[in-house]
């Protein structure tokens, strides 16, 4: 029973982590809160749905939707953040422009897909065989989702630690002016950051859609604020913190459900977030962690 | 809470054995000094000697690790910054901190915030005069003023609080020689109105012209004190300044 909840928490946490990494990367690099992140999460799920409906196999649809989400991220930056960056508009104004983009994406999706719930009809999501491993049971779909999420996180970690791009991203997060003086192309690095951040957010959207075999226009709502709780717990700007925060929140949520407190789990999540902010605003890892990641 | 000082009072602000620690490092150690009404105390020392820290400690921005600060018989260390400001200690900042988006009038009104009344036209004009920028239009945005005038306006804002103690943190920084010379008049004028002044300054010529007494800080400790000419001859002081402007002391 406990082992099963632990596994469920891991599955949930892995998807939360992908989403939260995207949030925290953008905050780490630009010090802004991107409230269009959940809209891109939802958009990617619908893109995957359309591709699957057109006969594209699910794994390929997943990869393609992730890339589309990344490109949407670059567009988001060009439209909502880049013009403001040039005149140092602070934190409030970009927050609002990201809400503007979120409204536009949401309205476009509603225009195209309507408000009804959609399902993947290919790939046999509902009839996926279950795997029994000792006391725990899960489906091959759940396992694939988990593997995909972990693979993306390992990939990101490699990019941030071992590539020139990763070094540039960390340099810009550390000190934008100094990075520019050292010859880092700011705009290109920020665009790459948005591609990665939104790609991961989109991947989280597709995986969430696959897990529940459900795609709805408002599927980004709950995770939008939960993502905030996660990055606060882990420490704003910290990738490692976001991953650990995601597994903690995922675990807490499944446990709350297991002990019959499912209606209260959001209150627990946000209560934890509030306490962390009040007692230790830098979270478990703080912003410095991204710079050292 | 009278702004004007009792002529009989010799001691206004007394720092006694003040120590401040920043992350395990002593920024100030056992600093004792006294500011008196009508007198200007120069605070000099190499960069990093703890001069601004002393002002921060006095105004409540840096907590004391040891010692006490007493204003007119009342301990003020440990009070929050706004209480200390209301007790009659005003300051300027090394890097000007005007309310840049507000106009000149707004900045003077801000300085006068803790006083019960409001500033009328005469009072505003008088403040600009005392700060040495008489005639500056009141509706000009503060950060569009010339640099030197911004420094002056910051002094005007501090005076608007009708302070008993005024601490000026490098008011001559960035000023040209003519402006610096006029600053001496401004500082002496403020002292003559009965305010106790502390002047942090690098320019020894200005210190000699404006200050009655000088305290020299090095590595957070007082290494010399006396009149400007005494201090200028002190070999310990010359030693501390070697390579960082010893010529200006000679």
């Amino acid at each position: 029973m406990f082992a099963q909840q632990l596994v469920n928490g891991l599955f949930l946490g892995a998807v939360y982590a992908l989403f939260a990494i995207g949030y925290t990367l953008v905050f780490g690099v630009l010090d802004i809160l991107n409230l269009a992140h959940a809209a891109i999460f939802t958009a990617a799920a619908f893109v995957a749905f359309s591709l699957a409906a057109a006969g594209v196999p699910l794994p390929i649809a997943f990869v393609a939707a992730t890339i589309v989400a990344g490109i949407l991220g670059i567009l988001l930056d060009r439209v909502a953040f880049a013009p403001l960056r040039r005149r140092n508009a602070g934190t409030l104004v970009p927050l609002i422009s990201s809400i503007g983009v979120a409204i536009i994406i949401g309205a476009a999706l509603r225009g195209i897909y309507g408000v009804d719930e959609r399902h993947f009809t290919t790939g046999g999501l509902d009839t996926a065989p279950a795997i029994h491993a000792g006391p725990v049971t899960f489906t091959t779909v759940e396992l694939s989702i988990f593997v995909a999420a972990i693979a993306l996180m390992i990939g990101l970690s490699w990019v941030l630690r071992s590539t020139t791009l990763g070094r540039r991203i960390r340099a810009v997060a550390d000190d934008r002016v100094a990075a520019a003086l050292l010859g880092v192309n700011l705009e290109r690095t920020i665009a790459a950051t948005f591609f990665i951040a939104s790609g991961l957010g989109g991947a989280a959207g597709v995986l969430t859609a696959l897990r529940y075999n459900s795609i709805t226009i408002d599927m980004g709502g709950p995770i939008e604020l939960k993502g905030l709780a996660i990055i606060i717990l882990g420490g704003m700007g910290s990738v490692t913190g976001a991953v650990i925060g995601a597994f903690v929140i995922g675990g807490v949520e499944t446990l709350a459900t297991a002990v019959g407190l499912s209606e209260w789990r959001d209150a627990i999540t946000f209560g934890v977030m509030f306490l962390i902010l009040v007692l230790r605003p830098t979270g478990l890892f703080g912003k410095r962690a991204l710079r050292q990641a | 809470m009278a702004a004007r000082t009792d002529p009989g009072a010799r001691l206004m602000l007394v720092l006694d054995g003040v120590g401040v620690r920043y992350g395990g490092v002593d920024a100030l150690r056992g600093v004792t000094l006294t500011l008196s009404p009508g007198r200007v105390l120069g605070l000099i020392g190499p960069n990093g000697a703890g001069k601004t820290t002393l002002v921060n400690a006095t105004t409540g921005l840096a907590p004391l690790a040891s010692g006490s600060i007493v204003l007119d018989g009342t301990r003020i260390d440990g009070l929050p910054p706004h209480r200390i400001a209301r007790a009659g200690i005003a300051r300027t900042y090394q890097n000007i901190r005007l309310f840049g988006a507000l106009d000149v009038r707004g900045n003077l009104a801000a300085g006068h915030f803790a006083r019960p009344d409001r500033l009328d036209a005469t009072a505003l004009e008088r403040l600009l005069e005392r700060a040495g920028i008489a005639g500056t239009p009141l509706d000009v945005q503060a950060n569009s003023l010339p640099y030197g005038d911004q420094r002056r306006l910051e002094i005007g804002r501090a005076l608007a609080a009708e302070p008993r103690v005024l601490m000026l943190d490098e008011p001559a920084a960035g000023l040209n020689p003519a402006e610096t010379a006029r600053l001496v008049e401004t500082i002496r004028g403020i002292a003559e109105s009965g305010v106790a002044l502390l002047l942090i300054e690098h320019d020894m010529a200005l210190v000699r012209a404006a200050c009655d007494d000088v305290v020299v800080l090095n590595f957070g400790e007082v290494i010399a004190r006396g009149t400007p000419s005494e201090v200028g001859r002190d070999p310990v002081v010359v030693e501390a300044y070697l390579g960082t402007g010893a010529e200006s002391l000679a």
């Binding site: 934190t91 609002i96 | 706004h82 900042y93 005007l98 988006a101």
Partner: protein, 282 residues
Amino acid sequence: MSFLAEFYARHSQLIDQIGINAILALSLSVSLQAGQLALAQVAFMGIAAYVSTILAMQYHVPLVLTIVVAVLVASAAGALLAFPVRRLRGVFLAIATIGFGEIVRVLANNLPVTGGAEGITGIPNDATTPVIYASLAIVVAALFFLSRTKFALAVTLVREDEYAARGVGVDVGTVRLLTLALGGAIAGLAGALHAHSANYITPTDFGFATMEQVLVWCVIGGVTSPVGAVLGSTLLSILPEVIRFLADYREITNGIILLLVILFAPGGLSSLWRRGPIRVRA
């Protein structure tokens, strides 16, 4: 006169909505004017809506009294919230207050007394247009009165430079507490009016989407002035009606207009005619 009567008959719901939205926008503008990105308006609104509704329906308390009590409770909630968040600024304050809002919403969703997710229906529809606009007038008058006091100066100074504000004797902690309490009171007023005007309330009325909307109104209008808040909320409340002819493209147009205003007038619409320095009373 008959034209006006007809206009009112056709648009009374919108007219009421504009009044309530203006109050809501003013409540957030109190915090924003002090430079505090405190986004708990929906929590105060929700608390007051439920308090006022329960008093009216279960204890048959007269409308005005329910509103007064609800406003006091919401205001107290704002003052209490000020303590835990006293060290938080900027995005961190925003997130903490959003979290507070979510906690209140989940509570409303689960407590028996608030009717859970279905909320409460059949609330007497007695917040009429005159009641709403009289409330708005009281808020405007109170804010106008405050704008002539030193409190307004303190609020401006905290927004412009918190550090320097301390140096001239402003008690920043108290200013933050008072703006939260005042914002809470005004948001509470909007919440109580909403409950008695909409006939029913559910926890989703007080969710993050509503909070985002209020924030958008204020930023579009201009965060440094209450005039901007009312302007923003009114224009954006009317906008959907004006662009009704766009039918399916209405929402997307909404988003695009928001984006254009932000990109071309980051100080909000009220900044377009208010150039030059910020004026305060000396």
